[in-house]
Symmetry: C4
Subunit: 279 residues, 4 copies
């Protein structure tokens, strides 16, 4: 099939999938009303949630996530809840896929759709970190060699200062022995959150990473530059011993990179590349 | 030529090629009738075969196959047969390219088109493995350094647990001395199948790999993550000694990754990326 | 969202952003008149400035710049000024984004839009180098391992002879201790310019590079091949000790690569790839 | 500019460039007549020349060539001539860009357009090798580390057997000392041809490679797999000592890879990918 036809085909498929999703739960008002009566809390048309849908697309476009991975925000309507998509690859996530969750992972989806099995990562971090309002979990391949070899990933380049001076490594084996490697219980999530501590990022051996930031824009951009830093460090380690940023450089550079001037320039760039409005 | 014109051109070329293919064998009904009288068994409009055509596109889109490589399914209508495309790069395969084969490689194509020279890989594995219903043969470049250097490829990351704990290496030289490296006889195919044994994947020195799974979705996704795992291992080996998944982690993670929740999420993702319906 | 819809969406977004930019400052003539009265000097419709807008797109398309990075030209109307875009990722820069600056960084933008924080890099180089009329600052990732490890980047391949025989390394730490790593004052810019000296390129530790040439076409193409040379050197160093071009080869090859025959062939190529007219 | 607009823009640019090219030499018939009277020999509408134009696009699409590089065929109308494009990046070459040359490089272009400076590479090889009817010269980056470090590039994978068992290295320094590294005289071309000898490929230190085959399809596909083999060897050398194909494997595999079954499958694949008809 030609690229041309494939693109058109993809549009059809996505549209069809969207129609199916809607159709299966119509009339929506009725379902929501019934579900609300049962505890369902629909996701409203707030800018934070629209931005969350966009964040999914950005992370997919920048190859930070692939078939797997997810991003969430703490619910601005209730800090003991968080919002993320139903179980679906981020590249395909639409606004209508978003669901509210209790911190323990209980779904408040009026439509009771299948959630991500690893949402406990997000709930546990929101529980442990009142300062965090956005979490990304991803499997970016460049990150994996570090956890697999025990080599330390460190911020080497100024745009990646935002990943923080220290990036701890979590290994499911340590406390849970042999598992399927997924963080599917609050117990596992809390263990991961304990390893993350006050840091921005943590690696997960043979699995991926988590990124926890104060805002969604920060979390998305940090996840992108975490991958970039890993790629640079892999290349640098092949020709010598790279010098990392000093702790003070990390601190000063982070303040600059998270200032509106730099953050919004990067956010606009990544939004437009992913074909979403820079909201 | 502009990207724009090139895309349109490609659509024309594919359509024209398709028309030529049809035209050369019209009227189809007559040819099929005649061929059937001679032993031809046309490929019917079953979902398994439509999925097989889609699988070709997915493997090409994810760069698991390039000009060469192929994928087949055991014939659901007759376990002693299998179905795969005529000799054509997977990226270009259409439903109409599919052909049924006897296990020994004899073509049942009513149109008697040229088959893949290496279809014996598939027949020999179906013969040796009653549990296998889908086979992928590919030349993904990231896999090659392992067979070429004798280094062992192992599952390091959880999404790649499905490749299995052990990935044997087959070398045409061992039994057949100097050849053109292709598996073109059942004798060669059986030798490869013997090396594969009960495993999911086997590497082929200086050539590529085979992947054998119970279902087509599993085979396609496994072939994709076999390449991913190799890429990660190459990078990890450049900075240290990577730690592999334990056998129990492989077992538990495989069960999870092949569960409908994970498998279908990945299948949807890869289908939409390749511009095919997630059937 | 499909690729197809995403592309259309992106077109909408860029157009909308453009409309917003214009709308916010209309009527332009009035604003310009008022600003001119206050010291604003608008950017006129000269070919050099159109080429500068194009250069932004080329550098982005070739992955020399990403969210960050910028390119400028010495103002042909006044050698003590230079012209570059307002603070915006190069991939998104339009002709209307261009602003004139005094050498010390003072903006002459009638619309007083936010400039790049690091424009001092450009002003300081124009001040130190009367022979230079175009400057590129970028963060191409392949360059970073060299400054981080202290390994020397050298011209290895003939198309990259134009980067010059010597590429010094500048480190903000040396004179300024811990900073946010950005060159935001003329003091810092002059220190960087001093390190650059009479050379064409300089690396910036943990940050990126600067490229300074006589013409804009030269600067753009040099920035592209600086990245290419780094990529080749990284690969070469992984398998042995690469031999660099002799100083005479660098000199002779540069003359050839900058001759109209070669320069214009490359310029046309990079322009068309980026979808801009080869002006 | 959006991808969408950029694509459309590129189409416009290419079309405009094409119109300019035609316009500048109209009426063509008159110019050809006049030029013929002066020694010009126009390129006729033969399939071999259409295929040559297509070959330019394929090599560019597969990143075998970039801004530089070229491909030619021995003139089927006169073996002491060859045909290639005027000086233009292969990605942009149209049928109308093709020119006939005498073996010594003298142009027979009725329109007297600027030829490639390095066409002597082609003329010298056609002169030395009566068995060769197509030549590719390219700068594929993966090839460069071998010549730069003195490491030997060898055929490791069966699809790359066609590059031949031995790939000599030519260095302009050896006979010509310091130069601009380009092969611009027949003297230099003959020295390169002498190094190439009876082999299919030769590397050029700090520059690129040449590929010489009996047919154009073979030359294009060989150039592609020369790059693939280099990429695999670079990765393999990073984790161990790769084992090369035996000379007999190279011989047997080449015969198979150049058989119509395999060659035409690959040719169709690369043509369609590049958006050209598989002629």
């Amino acid at each position: 099939m030609s690229e041309d036809l494939r693109v058109a085909r993809r549009a059809f498929v996505r549209t069809a999938l969207g129609a199916l999703a809607v159709g299966a739960f119509a009339p929506k008002a009725f379902a929501q009303g019934a579900a609300a009566a049962q505890g369902g809390v629909p996701v409203t048309d707030r800018i934070e949630f629209k931005r969350l849908a966009a964040a999914n697309r950005i992370l997919a476009h920048e190859d930070v996530v692939d078939a797997f991975g997810h991003v969430s925000v703490r619910d601005p309507d209730n800090p003991k809840r968080y919002v993320m998509a139903r179980s679906r690859s981020p590249e395909l996530v639409e606004f209508s896929d978003l669901i509210r969750f209790e911190q323990d992972g209980k779904s408040l989806d009026p439509e009771n759709r299948t959630p991500y099995g690893e949402r406990m990562i997000h709930g546990a971090i929101y529980e442990a970190r009142p300062d965090v309002n956005a979490v990304v979990h991803n499997h970016a391949y460049a990150l994996l060699p570090f956890g697999l070899t025990g080599r330390t990933l460190e911020p080497l380049v100024h745009v990646a200062s935002i990943i923080g001076a220290k990036i701890p490594l979590w290994d499911a084996q340590t406390k849970f022995k042999d598992t399927d490697m997924l963080v599917r219980t609050m117990d596992q999530g809390r263990d991961l959150a304990a390893t993350l501590g006050k840091n921005t990022c943590a690696l997960m051996r043979g699995h991926g990473a988590v990124v926890a930031c104060e805002t969604l824009k920060q979390a998305v951009i940090t996840a992108i530059y975490l991958k970039v830093d890993a790629e640079v460090q892999l290349q640098a380690m092949a020709i010598g011993t790279p010098r990392k940023l000093t702790d003070k450089e990390v601190e000063l550079s982070t303040a600059t990179q998270f200032s509106p001037l730099a953050l919004d320039r990067a956010w606009e760039y990544f939004c437009v590349r992913a074909g979403v409005e820079p909201i």
